[in-house]
C-alpha cells in the first residue's frame, strides 16, 4: 500500500486501538451494484476482507460507516470498496542524533499519532473468493 510519508508506518497489532470492535462497521451498496442484484454475501465477504486488512494494519472504524461504500460490478466479479478508518501510526524522530539513538534503545524515538484516512480498494473474485487487487491509503485531515 502507498503511504503518505516515507517515515510513517503502521504500528504492530498490539495497540489498544485494535481492540475497538470492527464488526459494527457498516457499508453501503451502490445503486449500480444493487440493480445487478449482487448477492448479499458479496458485500459481506468484501466487508470482512477489508476489515481484516484494516485490522492487520492496526486501523479501526472511523465514524459509523455511513460513508463507506462497496460497489460490486454488474458481472459480480469485480468491485471497489472505500473504508473510512482511523489509523494509529508512528513517525520516527529524525535526523539521527545521540539523543534519538538513546531513545530508540529504550523502544522510543518515535511520535505516535492517529490519522484519519480512507482505504480505497479494487477487488476481484477469483476461484469463488474476493481478493484485493490494489489497495491504497489516503490520509484525510478530518473524520468523515
Amino acid at each position: 500500500m502507498s503511504l503518505t510519508s516515507s517515515r510513517r508506518r503502521f504500528i504492530g497489532a498490539t495497540s489498544l486501538a485494535l481492540s475497538a470492535p470492527l464488526a459494527g462497521l457498516g457499508a453501503s451498496v451502490a445503486g449500480a451494484a444493487a440493480t445487478s442484484d449482487p448477492l448479499p454475501d458479496h458485500v459481506g465477504e468484501i466487508r470482512a476482507l477489508m476489515h481484516e486488512h484494516a485490522k492487520r494494519l492496526n486501523a479501526g472504524p472511523d465514524g459509523f460507516g455511513s460513508l463507506d461504500r462497496i460497489d460490486v460490478g454488474a458481472d459480480g466479479r469485480t468491485a471497489t470498496a472505500t473504508l473510512h478508518c482511523v489509523v494509529e501510526a508512528e513517525t520516527a524522530i529524525g535526523p539521527d542524533c545521540p539523543l534519538v539513538d538513546m531513545a530508540r534503545q529504550q523502544g522510543g524515538g518515535i511520535v505516535r499519532h492517529t490519522e484519519h484516512g480512507v482505504f480505497d480498494a479494487v477487488l476481484s473474485k477469483r476461484d469463488g473468493a474476493w481478493t484485493i487487487e490494489r489497495i491504497s491509503f489516503r490520509a484525510t485531515q478530518f473524520p468523515p
Binding site: G12, I93, G94, P95, D96, C97, P98, L99, V100, D101, M102, A103, Q105, Q106, G107, G108, G109, I110, V111, R112
Partner: protein, 576 residues
C-alpha cells in the same frame, strides 16, 4: 600525600576483560561475604522455604550466623557461607553457590513473609565481569497458613529521590534515582566526588517505607550493589558483589546511614505507580534481560586520522533539519553588521566582523587574514547573545561557542576541539573568560563571568521537539547527567559526562557537557531559567563527519537535590 582522586575516573579505566576461568578462580577463594558490621543471627538455627513465582523453591537451613545449606527445587543440598543483616523487620542475606559463578541475595520481610530473591551470576554477558541478575518474587512458606496473595513488585515510588549514604566501612556516595530503570551515583570517597556515573537499576517496593534498590555498573567494573533502604530513617543494609579495577573480588555486606537530599519531579500520569516499565518495541523477556545504555556499541572509537578523513568528506553546519533544535528560538539580528574584538584572559583576542545573519569573519588579533564562517546567534536575554562557529582549517577542527553580555562587555567562550588522548572522535573543551571591545563599550577591568555551583542538584526537563524530551540533572559541579523519558513519562535510560557551569546573570547560565567515552559530543547551552528556554551549539565528529548544530528546547523545572554541600573541599579524615 594521598588525595581522594583516582588516576583515572571510572569511565577511563580499562577494566580487564576477565575470562570465565579467571572469574571462577577468584570466586573459589571466597567462601562467604565479609562485613564491617556484626552479622545478624535472626535466622540462625531456622529453616526457610521460599516459594518463588515461576521459579524453583529455595529451602534454607541456617546452621548459624555464617553457614547455611540450601536446595534449589529438587536439587541436592549445598553448603555455603553467608551473611545476614537486618533493617527493622527486613532481613537481607547473601551467599554464593560454591563452584559456580552464581549467587543469591535474598530480602525477607518478616512481618508479611514476602520475599524478593536476586539470583546473580557472572559470565552471562560478553563482558564476563558484569554481574547479571534475575529477580523473583515470592514468600516464605508458613506451616498451616495459606500462601499470601501480595508480592513485592517494581515501583516508581523511589523515582525522583536522592540520598547521601555513608557505609559502615566509610564509603560515601550520593545516589539519585531519577528514573525507573537507571540511577545516578557519585562516589564521594572512592573516586573523589568529581563526576557522577549512571547504572541500570532496579527499584522494588517492599512497603511504603522499605524499598530495594539495585544497580550494576555496566560498561564499567560490572559491580552490583543491592540494598534495602528506609527513606524515613535514611538507613540501608546491602551487599556489593563484583571486581574492582585491580580485579579484586569485592563481596561484602554493609550497613549505612545517610541523609535524604531531596525529591525531584515525576512525569508519569497521576495514578501510575510504576508496576510496569513501558519499553515500546524492546523485547526483554529472556532471563536477566534489561535495558542497558552501551554508548560505545553505537559510537565506535575512531583515530584522529579516521576523524580527519571523515571531516573532509562531510561537515554539517547548522543543519535546518535537526531533531535537537525543534524548539529553537529565533535567530538574533543583534550581531549582524557589528565589528568587535573578544579579548580573553591569557592573551588570545579574536576580531569579528558579522557580515550578515549567517556569515561572520574572524581573525586572531594582529593577523592580517580574515576567515569566513557560517554562524547562528540567539539573544537569550536582553543584551546577552550566544553564537557559535567553526574555525575552519584548525588542526583539531576547533569550534567556538560564545556568550557575550553586551550590557557588561563580558564574554565567555567554550573552545571546543576534537580528539582526546582516549578517542579521536571525542571533543574536549576549554573555558575562556574575557571582555568585549567595541566602540561605545567600556569593559570591566576585574569582573568576569564565573564558574558557579548554583545549578548543582537541579533537574530541568528539555523538550527539543514533539516526542523528544530529556531531563538534565546537574549532578555535581563537574558533571551533568541526561535522562530520556519513557513513553509514559517515567525516566528511562540515563548517562552522564563531565560538565561545568558559568553564571552569566541571575537565572542565566552557560553550561557544557562532554559525552566522554560515549559519542564524544560537546553540548553547550545557555540556560535561561526565566524564559525556560535554552539555546546552544552541539559539536561532534564521527563516521559521518563533523557536526556543528543548533540546540533549542523548552524547559520545565523538575526540582532540586540539596547536594551542593557534599562537594565542598574538606580536610581528609585521619584514618587509624
Amino acid at each position: 600525600m594521598p588525595t581522594p582522586y583516582p588516576k583515572e575516573q571510572m569511565h577511563r579505566i580499562k577494566y580487564t576483560k576477565l575470562t570465565p576461568e579467571q572469574i571462577a578462580g577468584k570466586l573459589s577463594t571466597v567462601s562467604a561475604p565479609t562485613s564491617a558490621s556484626p552479622w545478624s543471627e535472626v535466622f540462625s538455627g531456622t529453616t526457610l522455604k521460599i516459594v518463588l513465582d515461576g521459579g524453583p523453591a529455595l529451602t534454607y537451613r541456617f546452621t548459624d550466623r555464617t553457614r547455611l545449606s540450601f536446595t534449589e527445587g529438587d536439587a541436592a543440598a549445598v553448603q555455603a557461607g553467608y551473611g545476614a543483616l537486618t533493617l527493622d523487620r527486613v532481613v537481607l542475606f547473601s551467599h554464593l553457590v560454591p563452584r559456580t559463578p552464581r549467587g543469591y541475595t535474598v530480602v525477607v520481610d518478616q512481618e508479611t513473609h514476602l520475599a524478593t530473591v536476586f539470583e546473580t551470576w557472572f559470565s552471562g554477558y560478553e563482558d564476563n565481569r558484569e554481574v547479571q541478575r534475575q529477580i523473583s518474587y515470592g514468600y516464605v512458606e508458613q506451616a498451616g497458613a495459606a500462601a499470601p496473595a501480595a508480592r513485592h513488585a517494581i515501583t516508581n515510588r523511589l523515582e525522583g529521590k536522592g540520598f547521601y549514604w555513608k557505609q559502615d566501612a566509610g564509603v560515601e556516595t550520593l545516589e539519585h534515582y531519577p528514573t525507573v530503570v537507571y540511577s545516578n551515583f557519585v562516589e564521594l570517597s572512592r573516586f573523589g566526588g568529581e563526576l557522577s556515573f549512571c547504572a541500570p537499576s532496579d527499584y522494588i517496593k517492599i512497603s511504603d517505607d522499605k524499598y530495594v534498590y539495585s544497580r550494576v555498573e555496566a560498561e564499567f567494573s560490572g559491580t552490583m550493589t543491592t540494598y534495602v533502604l528506609d527513606p524515613n530513617r535514611a538507613e540501608q543494609i546491602g551487599v556489593r558483589l563484583g571486581f574492582t579495577e585491580t580485579d579484586t573480588l569485592e563481596y561484602y555486606l554493609f550497613r549505612g546511614r545517610g541523609e535524604w537530599v531531596g525529591q525531584i519531579a515525576q512525569f508519569e500520569p497521576f495514578g501510575d505507580v510504576g508496576t510496569k516499565v513501558p519499553m515500546g518495541n524492546r523485547n526483554l523477556t529472556t532471563k536477566g534481560a534489561r535495558a542497558v545504555y552501551r554508548p560505545l556499541k553505537t559510537n565506535p572509537i575512531m583515530t584522529k586520522a579516521q576523524v580527519d578523513a571523515a571531516v573532509v568528506q562531510n561537515r554539517t553546519i547548522f543543519a535546518p533539519d535537526n531533531a535537537m533544535a525543534g524548539n529553537k528560538g529565533p535567530i538574533s539580528r543583534f550581531l549582524s553588521g557589528q565589528e568587535l574584538t573578544l579579548r580573553y584572559d591569557g592573551g588570545m583576542a579574536v576580531n569579528y566582523r558579522f557580515d550578515s545573519l549567517e556569515k561572520l569573519r574572524w581573525r586572531r588579533d594582529g593577523d592580517a587574514v580574515w576567515h569566513e564562517e557560517q554562524y547562528e546567534s540567539w539573544e537569550s536575554a536582553p543584551g546577552v547573545v550566544m553564537f557559535g562557529h567553526l574555525l575552519t582549517g584548525a588542526p583539531q577542527h576547533d569550534a567556538f561557542s560564545v556568550v557575550v553580555d553586551f550590557d557588561h562587555a563580558l564574554v565567555t567562550c567554550l573552545h571546543g576541539t576534537m580528539g582526546t588522548p582516549y578517542m579521536g572522535n571525542e571533543a574536549a573543551v576549554k573555558t575562556l573568560f574575557g571582555v568585549v571591545e567595541m566602540p561605545g563599550l567600556t569593559p570591566p577591568r576585574y569582573r568576569r563571568h564565573q564558574f558557579t555551583d548554583e545549578l548543582v542538584g537541579r533537574a530541568v526537563s528539555w523538550n527539543y521537539r514533539p516526542g523528544l524530551t530529556s531531563m538534565h540533572l546537574y549532578s555535581t559541579p563537574h558533571s551533568l547527567s541526561w535522562i530520556i523519558f519513557l513513553e509514559n513519562g517515567a525516566g528511562g535510560l540515563e548517562w552522564s559526562g563531565p560538565a561545568s557551569y558559568v553564571k552569566i546573570r541571575d537565572e542565566l547560565y552557560l553550561a557544557y557537557w562532554l559525552e566522554e567515552a560515549c559519542n564524544g559530543t560537546l553540548g553547550t547551552i545557555l540556560v535561561n531559567l526565566r524564559t525556560m528556554r535554552n539555546c546552544g551549539v552541539d559539536y561532534a565528529a564521527g563516521p559521518k563527519g563533523l557536526r556543528l548544530n543548533a540546540v533549542g528546547a523548552h524547559a520545565r523545572h523538575a526540582g532540586r537535590f540539596n547536594t551542593a554541600k557534599y562537594f565542598a573541599p574538606r580536610a581528609v579524615e585521619v584514618r587509624s
